[in-house]
Protein backbone atom coordinates (compact mmCIF):
# COMPACT_ATOMS: atom_id res chain seq x y z
CA UNK A 1 0.00 0.00 0.00
CA UNK A 2 1.41 3.34 -1.03
CA UNK A 3 0.68 6.90 -0.04
CA UNK A 4 -0.57 7.80 -3.54
CA UNK A 5 -2.33 4.65 -4.74
CA UNK A 6 -4.34 5.32 -7.90
CA UNK A 7 -3.34 8.99 -8.25
CA UNK A 8 -2.43 10.39 -11.68
CA UNK A 9 0.58 12.72 -11.61
CA UNK A 10 2.22 14.81 -14.32
CA UNK A 11 5.79 16.00 -13.70
CA UNK A 12 7.29 18.58 -16.06
CA UNK A 13 11.00 18.47 -16.87
CA UNK A 14 11.25 14.94 -15.52
CA UNK A 15 13.70 13.38 -17.96
CA UNK A 16 16.46 13.44 -15.33
CA UNK A 17 17.61 14.96 -12.04
CA UNK A 18 15.07 16.20 -9.51
CA UNK A 19 12.09 15.79 -11.87
CA UNK A 20 12.95 12.16 -12.54
CA UNK A 21 13.43 11.61 -8.80
CA UNK A 22 9.97 13.00 -8.15
CA UNK A 23 8.48 10.78 -10.87
CA UNK A 24 10.05 7.60 -9.48
CA UNK A 25 9.20 8.49 -5.86
CA UNK A 26 5.53 9.10 -6.66
CA UNK A 27 5.52 5.87 -8.68
CA UNK A 28 6.99 4.00 -5.69
CA UNK A 29 3.95 5.17 -3.71
CA UNK A 30 1.43 3.89 -6.23
CA UNK A 31 0.84 6.87 -8.53
CA UNK A 32 0.61 6.60 -12.32
CA UNK A 33 3.07 9.13 -13.67
CA UNK A 34 3.43 11.15 -16.84
CA UNK A 35 6.97 12.34 -17.59
CA UNK A 36 7.24 15.55 -19.56
CA UNK A 37 10.39 17.00 -21.08
CA UNK A 38 11.35 19.17 -24.03
CA UNK A 39 14.03 16.63 -24.92
CA UNK A 40 12.60 13.51 -26.55
CA UNK A 41 15.26 10.82 -26.50
CA UNK A 42 16.18 7.44 -25.06
CA UNK A 43 16.76 8.93 -21.62
CA UNK A 44 13.21 10.34 -21.58
CA UNK A 45 11.74 6.99 -22.64
CA UNK A 46 13.85 5.21 -20.05
CA UNK A 47 12.47 7.46 -17.29
CA UNK A 48 8.93 6.48 -18.29
CA UNK A 49 10.00 2.83 -18.45
CA UNK A 50 11.42 3.03 -14.92
CA UNK A 51 8.01 4.28 -13.77
CA UNK A 52 6.26 1.37 -15.51
CA UNK A 53 8.73 -1.07 -13.91
CA UNK A 54 7.29 -0.05 -10.54
CA UNK A 55 3.95 -1.64 -11.37
CA UNK A 56 2.16 1.58 -12.28
CA UNK A 57 1.51 3.30 -15.59
CA UNK A 58 4.38 5.45 -16.90
CA UNK A 59 4.04 7.65 -19.98
CA UNK A 60 6.21 10.20 -21.76
CA UNK A 61 4.87 13.50 -23.10
CA UNK A 62 7.36 15.50 -25.12
CA UNK A 63 6.71 19.22 -25.20
CA UNK A 64 7.84 22.74 -24.47
CA UNK A 65 5.97 23.99 -21.40
CA UNK A 66 7.01 27.63 -21.78
CA UNK A 67 4.03 28.52 -23.97
CA UNK A 68 0.32 28.19 -23.26
CA UNK A 69 -0.14 26.10 -26.41
CA UNK A 70 2.74 23.87 -25.33
CA UNK A 71 1.37 23.45 -21.80
CA UNK A 72 -2.08 22.58 -23.13
CA UNK A 73 -0.66 20.08 -25.62
CA UNK A 74 1.26 18.29 -22.86
CA UNK A 75 -1.74 18.18 -20.52
CA UNK A 76 -4.01 17.02 -23.38
CA UNK A 77 -1.57 14.23 -24.13
CA UNK A 78 -1.42 13.29 -20.42
CA UNK A 79 -5.23 13.26 -20.13
CA UNK A 80 -5.54 11.11 -23.26
CA UNK A 81 -3.37 8.48 -21.56
CA UNK A 82 -4.50 8.78 -17.93
CA UNK A 83 -8.08 10.04 -18.13
CA UNK A 84 -7.65 12.60 -15.37
CA UNK A 85 -5.02 14.58 -13.46
CA UNK A 86 -4.69 14.57 -9.65
CA UNK A 87 -1.20 16.00 -9.23
CA UNK A 88 0.78 18.52 -11.28
CA UNK A 89 4.43 19.12 -10.40
CA UNK A 90 5.86 22.16 -12.20
CA UNK A 91 9.56 21.39 -12.26
CA UNK A 92 10.89 22.12 -15.77
CA UNK A 93 13.93 24.40 -16.04
CA UNK A 94 16.70 24.74 -18.62
CA UNK A 95 20.35 24.11 -17.66
CA UNK A 96 21.58 27.67 -18.22
CA UNK A 97 20.15 29.04 -14.94
CA UNK A 98 22.57 31.79 -13.91
CA UNK A 99 23.80 34.73 -15.95
CA UNK A 100 25.77 37.89 -15.11
CA UNK A 101 23.60 40.96 -14.78
CA UNK A 102 24.86 42.78 -17.88
CA UNK A 103 24.80 39.64 -20.02
CA UNK A 104 21.14 39.17 -19.16
CA UNK A 105 19.48 40.28 -22.38
CA UNK A 106 15.81 40.45 -23.23
CA UNK A 107 15.87 37.05 -24.91
CA UNK A 108 17.31 35.35 -21.80
CA UNK A 109 14.92 37.17 -19.48
CA UNK A 110 11.93 36.19 -21.60
CA UNK A 111 13.08 32.58 -21.80
CA UNK A 112 13.42 32.43 -17.99
CA UNK A 113 10.07 34.07 -17.26
CA UNK A 114 8.20 32.16 -19.97
CA UNK A 115 9.27 28.81 -18.64
CA UNK A 116 9.43 29.43 -14.89
CA UNK A 117 6.52 31.77 -14.35
CA UNK A 118 4.22 31.81 -17.37
CA UNK A 119 4.49 28.10 -18.09
CA UNK A 120 4.06 27.15 -14.43
CA UNK A 121 1.10 29.51 -14.08
CA UNK A 122 -0.81 28.33 -17.13
CA UNK A 123 0.00 24.71 -16.34
CA UNK A 124 -1.47 25.21 -12.87
CA UNK A 125 -4.50 27.03 -14.31
CA UNK A 126 -5.25 24.27 -16.79
CA UNK A 127 -4.65 21.47 -14.27
CA UNK A 128 -6.88 23.22 -11.73
CA UNK A 129 -9.64 23.51 -14.34
CA UNK A 130 -9.45 19.76 -14.94
CA UNK A 131 -9.34 19.00 -11.19
CA UNK A 132 -12.44 21.13 -10.57
CA UNK A 133 -14.30 19.38 -13.40
CA UNK A 134 -13.24 15.99 -12.02
CA UNK A 135 -14.57 17.02 -8.58
CA UNK A 136 -12.02 15.18 -6.44
CA UNK A 137 -9.57 17.96 -5.67
CA UNK A 138 -5.88 17.61 -6.29
CA UNK A 139 -2.43 18.98 -5.60
CA UNK A 140 -0.23 21.45 -7.45
CA UNK A 141 3.44 21.74 -6.51
CA UNK A 142 5.87 24.26 -8.00
CA UNK A 143 9.63 23.99 -7.66
CA UNK A 144 10.93 27.25 -6.22
CA UNK A 145 14.47 27.66 -4.86
CA UNK A 146 16.66 29.08 -2.11
CA UNK A 147 17.35 31.77 -4.73
CA UNK A 148 13.83 33.04 -3.99
CA UNK A 149 15.07 34.03 -0.50
CA UNK A 150 18.61 35.37 -0.91
CA UNK A 151 20.74 36.85 -3.69
CA UNK A 152 23.82 35.14 -5.04
CA UNK A 153 25.91 36.78 -7.75
CA UNK A 154 24.55 36.24 -11.26
CA UNK A 155 21.23 34.61 -10.28
CA UNK A 156 18.89 37.61 -10.52
CA UNK A 157 16.58 36.45 -13.31
CA UNK A 158 16.26 32.94 -11.89
CA UNK A 159 15.75 34.22 -8.34
CA UNK A 160 13.10 36.67 -9.48
CA UNK A 161 11.14 33.92 -11.21
CA UNK A 162 11.48 31.57 -8.24
CA UNK A 163 10.34 34.31 -5.81
CA UNK A 164 7.33 34.89 -8.03
CA UNK A 165 6.31 31.27 -7.59
CA UNK A 166 6.15 31.68 -3.80
CA UNK A 167 3.55 34.39 -4.31
CA UNK A 168 1.85 32.51 -7.11
CA UNK A 169 0.90 29.52 -4.96
CA UNK A 170 -0.72 31.82 -2.41
CA UNK A 171 -2.89 33.22 -5.20
CA UNK A 172 -3.72 29.72 -6.40
CA UNK A 173 -4.69 28.72 -2.85
CA UNK A 174 -7.01 31.69 -2.49
CA UNK A 175 -8.60 31.49 -5.94
CA UNK A 176 -9.10 27.73 -5.76
CA UNK A 177 -10.72 27.78 -2.32
CA UNK A 178 -13.45 25.28 -1.83
CA UNK A 179 -12.18 22.92 -4.51
CA UNK A 180 -9.99 20.75 -2.28
CA UNK A 181 -6.87 21.63 -4.27
CA UNK A 182 -3.71 22.54 -2.39
CA UNK A 183 -1.00 24.57 -4.14
CA UNK A 184 2.47 24.86 -2.66
CA UNK A 185 6.15 25.33 -3.49
CA UNK A 186 9.19 23.32 -2.56
CA UNK A 187 12.35 25.42 -2.39
CA UNK A 188 15.41 23.19 -2.81
CA UNK A 189 18.87 24.16 -1.60
CA UNK A 190 22.00 22.73 -3.19
CA UNK A 191 20.87 19.44 -4.71
CA UNK A 192 23.08 16.86 -6.34
CA UNK A 193 21.99 16.15 -9.89
CA UNK A 194 24.76 13.77 -10.75
CA UNK A 195 23.22 11.07 -12.91
CA UNK A 196 23.99 7.57 -11.78
CA UNK A 197 26.43 5.56 -13.83
CA UNK A 198 25.65 1.97 -14.71
CA UNK A 199 22.50 1.07 -12.83
CA UNK A 200 20.13 3.88 -13.68
CA UNK A 201 17.22 2.48 -11.68
CA UNK A 202 17.91 4.66 -8.65
CA UNK A 203 16.60 8.05 -7.61
CA UNK A 204 19.80 9.65 -6.35
CA UNK A 205 23.13 10.07 -8.05
CA UNK A 206 26.40 10.31 -6.17
CA UNK A 207 26.20 13.17 -3.67
CA UNK A 208 28.48 16.14 -4.15
CA UNK A 209 31.48 16.55 -1.89
CA UNK A 210 29.99 18.24 1.20
CA UNK A 211 32.92 20.66 1.33
CA UNK A 212 31.79 22.05 -1.98
CA UNK A 213 28.90 23.72 -0.17
CA UNK A 214 30.05 24.56 3.31
CA UNK A 215 31.50 23.01 6.37
CA UNK A 216 28.82 24.85 8.35
CA UNK A 217 25.68 23.74 6.53
CA UNK A 218 23.67 22.12 9.34
CA UNK A 219 22.93 19.00 7.32
CA UNK A 220 26.67 18.70 6.55
CA UNK A 221 25.86 17.41 3.06
CA UNK A 222 24.33 18.41 -0.20
CA UNK A 223 20.72 17.49 -0.84
CA UNK A 224 19.63 14.69 -3.13
CA UNK A 225 16.77 14.44 -5.61
CA UNK A 226 15.03 12.09 -3.13
CA UNK A 227 14.97 14.87 -0.51
CA UNK A 228 12.97 17.06 -2.88
CA UNK A 229 10.85 14.18 -4.12
CA UNK A 230 9.94 13.22 -0.55
CA UNK A 231 8.74 16.76 0.17
CA UNK A 232 6.57 16.58 -2.97
CA UNK A 233 5.25 13.25 -1.70
CA UNK A 234 4.34 14.87 1.62
CA UNK A 235 2.43 17.72 -0.02
CA UNK A 236 0.57 15.50 -2.47
CA UNK A 237 -0.36 12.76 0.01
CA UNK A 238 -2.92 12.77 2.81
CA UNK A 239 -0.16 13.81 5.24
CA UNK A 240 0.09 17.31 3.78
CA UNK A 241 -3.38 18.04 2.46
CA UNK A 242 -3.97 20.95 4.88
CA UNK A 243 -0.76 22.68 3.78
CA UNK A 244 -1.82 25.31 1.24
CA UNK A 245 -0.18 28.42 -0.23
CA UNK A 246 3.05 27.50 1.56
CA UNK A 247 6.68 27.19 0.48
CA UNK A 248 8.74 24.50 2.18
CA UNK A 249 12.50 24.98 2.11
CA UNK A 250 14.37 21.71 1.68
CA UNK A 251 17.87 23.05 2.06
CA UNK A 252 19.50 21.33 5.03
CA UNK A 253 19.26 24.55 7.04
CA UNK A 254 21.02 26.77 4.49
CA UNK A 255 18.63 29.72 4.58
CA UNK A 256 17.91 29.48 8.32
CA UNK A 257 21.62 29.81 9.06
CA UNK A 258 22.67 31.87 6.02
CA UNK A 259 25.50 29.49 5.22
CA UNK A 260 25.02 29.52 1.47
CA UNK A 261 28.37 30.97 0.50
CA UNK A 262 30.81 30.06 3.25
Amino acid sequence: MGLLDGKKALITGARKGIGRGIALTLANEGADVGINDIVDDEVSRRAAELVTNRGVKGTFHAGDVSTVAGVNAVIDSFLAEHGRIDILVNNAIFPDQSRPLFDTDEAYWDRMMNLSLKGYFFGAQRAAKEMIAQGNGGSIVCLSSVHAYVAIEEWTAYGTAKAGLRRMVKGLAIDLKGHNINANCIAPGAISNVLPDGDDDVIDGAPHDPSRFTKHLPAAKGGLPSDIANAVLYLTSELGQYVNGETILVDGGMIATKTMQD
Binding site: A173, G178, A256, T259
Partner: protein
Protein backbone atom coordinates in the same frame (compact mmCIF):
# COMPACT_ATOMS: atom_id res chain seq x y z
CA UNK B 1 8.49 2.54 1.20
CA UNK B 2 5.48 1.57 3.22
CA UNK B 3 3.18 3.73 5.27
CA UNK B 4 5.29 2.87 8.35
CA UNK B 5 7.39 6.00 8.16
CA UNK B 6 8.60 5.96 11.79
CA UNK B 7 9.14 2.26 12.41
CA UNK B 8 11.02 1.64 15.66
CA UNK B 9 11.41 5.33 16.52
CA UNK B 10 11.11 6.54 20.13
CA UNK B 11 9.16 9.79 20.33
CA UNK B 12 8.31 12.00 23.29
CA UNK B 13 5.37 14.37 22.77
CA UNK B 14 4.70 16.93 25.47
CA UNK B 15 1.15 17.97 26.28
CA UNK B 16 -0.16 14.86 24.57
CA UNK B 17 -3.00 13.90 26.91
CA UNK B 18 -5.52 15.24 24.38
CA UNK B 19 -5.90 17.56 21.38
CA UNK B 20 -3.08 18.10 18.92
CA UNK B 21 -0.51 16.31 21.10
CA UNK B 22 -2.72 13.23 21.29
CA UNK B 23 -3.22 13.36 17.51
CA UNK B 24 0.55 13.43 17.00
CA UNK B 25 1.04 10.48 19.37
CA UNK B 26 -1.60 8.44 17.54
CA UNK B 27 -0.32 9.14 14.01
CA UNK B 28 3.25 8.45 15.16
CA UNK B 29 2.03 5.10 16.51
CA UNK B 30 0.25 4.35 13.21
CA UNK B 31 3.62 4.90 11.56
CA UNK B 32 5.36 2.46 13.88
CA UNK B 33 6.78 4.69 16.65
CA UNK B 34 6.73 4.03 20.40
CA UNK B 35 5.65 7.18 22.20
CA UNK B 36 5.88 8.92 25.54
CA UNK B 37 2.69 10.68 26.62
CA UNK B 38 3.21 13.69 28.86
CA UNK B 39 0.88 16.13 30.56
CA UNK B 40 0.40 17.92 33.86
CA UNK B 41 -2.46 15.66 34.88
CA UNK B 42 -3.51 12.12 34.12
CA UNK B 43 -7.20 11.82 33.39
CA UNK B 44 -9.65 9.93 31.21
CA UNK B 45 -8.34 11.73 28.10
CA UNK B 46 -4.78 10.64 28.89
CA UNK B 47 -6.00 7.06 29.38
CA UNK B 48 -7.78 7.18 26.01
CA UNK B 49 -4.65 8.39 24.22
CA UNK B 50 -2.52 5.68 25.83
CA UNK B 51 -5.11 3.04 24.95
CA UNK B 52 -5.28 4.28 21.35
CA UNK B 53 -1.49 3.98 20.97
CA UNK B 54 -1.47 0.53 22.55
CA UNK B 55 -4.33 -0.64 20.33
CA UNK B 56 -2.03 0.10 17.38
CA UNK B 57 0.47 -2.34 18.83
CA UNK B 58 2.93 0.31 19.97
CA UNK B 59 4.31 1.11 23.40
CA UNK B 60 2.97 4.16 25.22
CA UNK B 61 4.73 5.34 28.37
CA UNK B 62 3.15 7.87 30.71
CA UNK B 63 5.11 10.82 32.13
CA UNK B 64 3.40 13.29 34.41
CA UNK B 65 5.45 16.49 34.33
CA UNK B 66 5.15 20.26 34.08
CA UNK B 67 7.45 21.47 31.28
CA UNK B 68 7.67 24.86 33.01
CA UNK B 69 9.57 23.24 35.89
CA UNK B 70 13.30 22.48 35.66
CA UNK B 71 13.22 19.35 37.82
CA UNK B 72 10.17 18.01 36.01
CA UNK B 73 11.85 18.53 32.62
CA UNK B 74 14.97 16.61 33.65
CA UNK B 75 12.92 13.83 35.20
CA UNK B 76 10.71 13.66 32.10
CA UNK B 77 13.69 13.07 29.80
CA UNK B 78 15.34 10.62 32.20
CA UNK B 79 12.10 8.67 32.62
CA UNK B 80 11.50 8.54 28.88
CA UNK B 81 15.02 7.33 28.10
CA UNK B 82 14.91 4.72 30.87
CA UNK B 83 11.59 3.39 29.45
CA UNK B 84 12.57 3.45 25.78
CA UNK B 85 16.37 3.21 25.81
CA UNK B 86 16.86 6.40 23.82
CA UNK B 87 15.06 9.41 22.38
CA UNK B 88 14.81 9.85 18.60
CA UNK B 89 12.09 12.50 18.38
CA UNK B 90 10.96 15.29 20.69
CA UNK B 91 7.77 17.20 19.93
CA UNK B 92 7.40 20.30 22.13
CA UNK B 93 3.65 20.82 22.11
CA UNK B 94 2.51 21.52 25.69
CA UNK B 95 0.94 24.94 26.14
CA UNK B 96 -1.86 26.54 28.12
CA UNK B 97 -2.50 30.16 27.26
CA UNK B 98 -5.30 32.68 27.54
CA UNK B 99 -6.21 36.00 25.97
CA UNK B 100 -4.95 39.12 27.70
CA UNK B 101 -5.21 42.69 26.42
CA UNK B 102 -1.83 44.37 26.05
CA UNK B 103 -2.62 46.94 28.73
CA UNK B 104 -3.59 44.19 31.17
CA UNK B 105 -0.68 41.75 30.72
CA UNK B 106 0.69 40.84 34.14
CA UNK B 107 4.26 39.90 34.94
CA UNK B 108 2.94 36.67 36.40
CA UNK B 109 1.25 35.70 33.13
CA UNK B 110 4.32 36.66 31.08
CA UNK B 111 6.60 34.59 33.32
CA UNK B 112 4.19 31.67 33.24
CA UNK B 113 3.80 31.48 29.45
CA UNK B 114 7.41 32.32 28.59
CA UNK B 115 8.59 29.91 31.28
CA UNK B 116 6.54 27.06 29.85
CA UNK B 117 6.38 27.58 26.13
CA UNK B 118 9.71 29.24 25.39
CA UNK B 119 12.13 28.44 28.23
CA UNK B 120 10.57 25.02 28.80
CA UNK B 121 10.76 24.16 25.09
CA UNK B 122 14.37 25.34 24.86
CA UNK B 123 15.64 23.33 27.78
CA UNK B 124 13.71 20.21 26.82
CA UNK B 125 15.16 20.55 23.31
CA UNK B 126 18.62 21.03 24.79
CA UNK B 127 18.27 17.99 27.04
CA UNK B 128 16.92 15.88 24.17
CA UNK B 129 19.67 17.08 21.80
CA UNK B 130 22.39 16.20 24.31
CA UNK B 131 20.96 12.73 24.70
CA UNK B 132 20.65 12.34 20.91
CA UNK B 133 24.28 13.44 20.43
CA UNK B 134 25.39 10.98 23.09
CA UNK B 135 23.51 8.21 21.33
CA UNK B 136 25.09 9.21 18.03
CA UNK B 137 22.23 8.56 15.60
CA UNK B 138 20.82 12.05 15.15
CA UNK B 139 17.21 12.83 15.80
CA UNK B 140 14.40 15.28 15.22
CA UNK B 141 13.16 18.11 17.38
CA UNK B 142 9.86 19.72 16.48
CA UNK B 143 8.32 22.76 18.17
CA UNK B 144 4.64 23.41 17.69
CA UNK B 145 4.45 27.08 16.78
CA UNK B 146 1.36 28.92 15.48
CA UNK B 147 0.04 31.29 12.85
CA UNK B 148 0.11 33.74 15.79
CA UNK B 149 3.90 33.81 15.30
CA UNK B 150 3.36 35.73 12.04
CA UNK B 151 0.31 37.93 12.63
CA UNK B 152 -1.51 39.54 15.55
CA UNK B 153 -4.97 38.62 16.76
CA UNK B 154 -6.71 40.44 19.59
CA UNK B 155 -5.13 39.99 23.01
CA UNK B 156 -2.49 37.50 21.85
CA UNK B 157 0.74 39.41 22.55
CA UNK B 158 2.51 37.02 24.88
CA UNK B 159 1.40 33.92 22.98
CA UNK B 160 2.48 35.45 19.66
CA UNK B 161 5.86 36.54 21.02
CA UNK B 162 6.51 33.08 22.45
CA UNK B 163 5.54 31.38 19.18
CA UNK B 164 7.66 33.78 17.10
CA UNK B 165 10.54 32.95 19.42
CA UNK B 166 10.15 29.26 18.63
CA UNK B 167 10.43 29.91 14.88
CA UNK B 168 13.68 31.73 15.50
CA UNK B 169 14.89 29.15 18.02
CA UNK B 170 14.98 26.31 15.48
CA UNK B 171 17.17 28.38 13.15
CA UNK B 172 19.82 28.64 15.85
CA UNK B 173 19.40 25.00 16.77
CA UNK B 174 20.02 24.06 13.14
CA UNK B 175 23.19 26.14 13.26
CA UNK B 176 24.57 24.88 16.55
CA UNK B 177 23.57 21.26 15.96
CA UNK B 178 25.18 21.20 12.50
CA UNK B 179 26.70 17.86 11.64
CA UNK B 180 25.00 15.96 14.49
CA UNK B 181 22.26 14.54 12.28
CA UNK B 182 19.66 16.33 14.39
CA UNK B 183 17.09 18.48 12.61
CA UNK B 184 15.10 21.22 14.37
CA UNK B 185 11.91 22.61 12.86
CA UNK B 186 8.58 24.16 13.76
CA UNK B 187 5.06 23.37 12.62
CA UNK B 188 2.77 26.40 12.69
CA UNK B 189 -0.90 25.34 12.88
CA UNK B 190 -3.77 27.56 11.76
CA UNK B 191 -7.36 26.97 12.93
CA UNK B 192 -7.27 23.50 14.42
CA UNK B 193 -10.32 22.08 16.13
CA UNK B 194 -8.66 20.20 18.97
CA UNK B 195 -11.69 20.00 21.25
CA UNK B 196 -12.41 16.93 23.30
CA UNK B 197 -15.61 15.62 21.70
CA UNK B 198 -17.80 12.63 22.50
CA UNK B 199 -17.17 10.08 19.76
CA UNK B 200 -20.76 10.49 18.53
CA UNK B 201 -19.99 14.15 17.78
CA UNK B 202 -16.67 13.51 16.06
CA UNK B 203 -18.25 14.28 12.69
CA UNK B 204 -18.83 17.86 13.81
CA UNK B 205 -15.11 18.45 14.36
CA UNK B 206 -13.84 21.49 12.43
CA UNK B 207 -17.19 21.92 10.71
CA UNK B 208 -18.73 25.17 9.46
CA UNK B 209 -20.68 25.84 12.66
CA UNK B 210 -17.53 25.60 14.72
CA UNK B 211 -15.47 27.84 12.46
CA UNK B 212 -18.12 30.47 11.82
CA UNK B 213 -16.94 33.42 9.73
CA UNK B 214 -13.33 32.21 9.79
CA UNK B 215 -14.23 29.46 7.33
CA UNK B 216 -14.61 31.98 4.52
CA UNK B 217 -10.92 32.83 4.77
CA UNK B 218 -9.57 29.29 4.75
CA UNK B 219 -8.93 28.26 1.14
CA UNK B 220 -9.03 24.57 2.06
CA UNK B 221 -12.62 25.26 3.21
CA UNK B 222 -12.45 23.25 6.37
CA UNK B 223 -10.95 23.65 9.78
CA UNK B 224 -7.80 21.78 10.60
CA UNK B 225 -7.84 18.66 12.74
CA UNK B 226 -5.05 17.31 14.97
CA UNK B 227 -4.18 14.76 12.29
CA UNK B 228 -3.17 17.59 9.92
CA UNK B 229 -0.55 18.80 12.37
CA UNK B 230 0.49 15.24 13.08
CA UNK B 231 1.06 14.70 9.33
CA UNK B 232 3.57 17.56 9.25
CA UNK B 233 5.33 16.10 12.30
CA UNK B 234 5.53 12.68 10.60
CA UNK B 235 7.02 14.37 7.53
CA UNK B 236 9.66 16.19 9.60
CA UNK B 237 10.51 13.20 11.81
CA UNK B 238 10.71 10.65 8.98
CA UNK B 239 13.15 10.20 6.12
CA UNK B 240 10.72 12.24 4.00
CA UNK B 241 11.82 15.44 5.72
CA UNK B 242 15.39 14.66 6.66
CA UNK B 243 16.85 17.57 4.63
CA UNK B 244 14.40 20.11 6.11
CA UNK B 245 16.15 22.02 8.89
CA UNK B 246 15.65 25.31 10.75
CA UNK B 247 12.25 25.68 9.05
CA UNK B 248 8.74 26.55 10.11
CA UNK B 249 6.05 24.80 8.09
CA UNK B 250 2.68 26.50 8.20
CA UNK B 251 -0.25 24.06 8.21
CA UNK B 252 -3.25 26.34 7.96
CA UNK B 253 -5.26 25.35 4.89
CA UNK B 254 -3.99 28.48 3.12
CA UNK B 255 -5.41 30.82 5.76
CA UNK B 256 -2.37 33.11 5.96
CA UNK B 257 -1.83 33.15 2.20
CA UNK B 258 -4.64 35.64 1.82
CA UNK B 259 -3.73 37.70 4.84
CA UNK B 260 -7.32 38.65 5.73
CA UNK B 261 -8.11 38.54 9.44
CA UNK B 262 -11.04 36.24 10.17
CA UNK B 263 -13.30 38.80 11.81
CA UNK B 264 -12.87 41.70 9.38
CA UNK B 265 -15.42 40.63 6.80
CA UNK B 266 -18.54 38.50 6.96
CA UNK B 267 -18.79 35.36 4.91
CA UNK B 268 -20.54 36.29 1.68
CA UNK B 269 -23.78 34.43 0.94
CA UNK B 270 -23.19 31.69 -1.59
CA UNK B 271 -19.58 31.11 -0.56
CA UNK B 272 -18.92 27.53 0.46
CA UNK B 273 -19.54 27.33 4.18
CA UNK B 274 -21.83 30.37 4.30
CA UNK B 275 -25.24 30.04 5.90
CA UNK B 276 -27.90 29.21 3.32
Amino acid sequence: MTTQLLEGKKALITGSRRGIGSGIAQLFAEHGADVGINDVIRDEEADKTIAAVESLGRKASWHQADVGNTEDRNRLLDEFVSEHGRIDILVNNAVASRDMHFTKITEEFWDHLVGHALKGYLFLAQGAANRMIEHGHGGNIINISSVHSYRAWPHDTVYGVVKAGLNRMVQSMAHDLAGTGITANCVAPGYIDSRVLPSAEEASRANAEYLGSALGFIPSRRGGVPRDIAGACVFLASELGEYVNGQTITVDGGFLAGGVPPDSQPLEPGMPGAAK
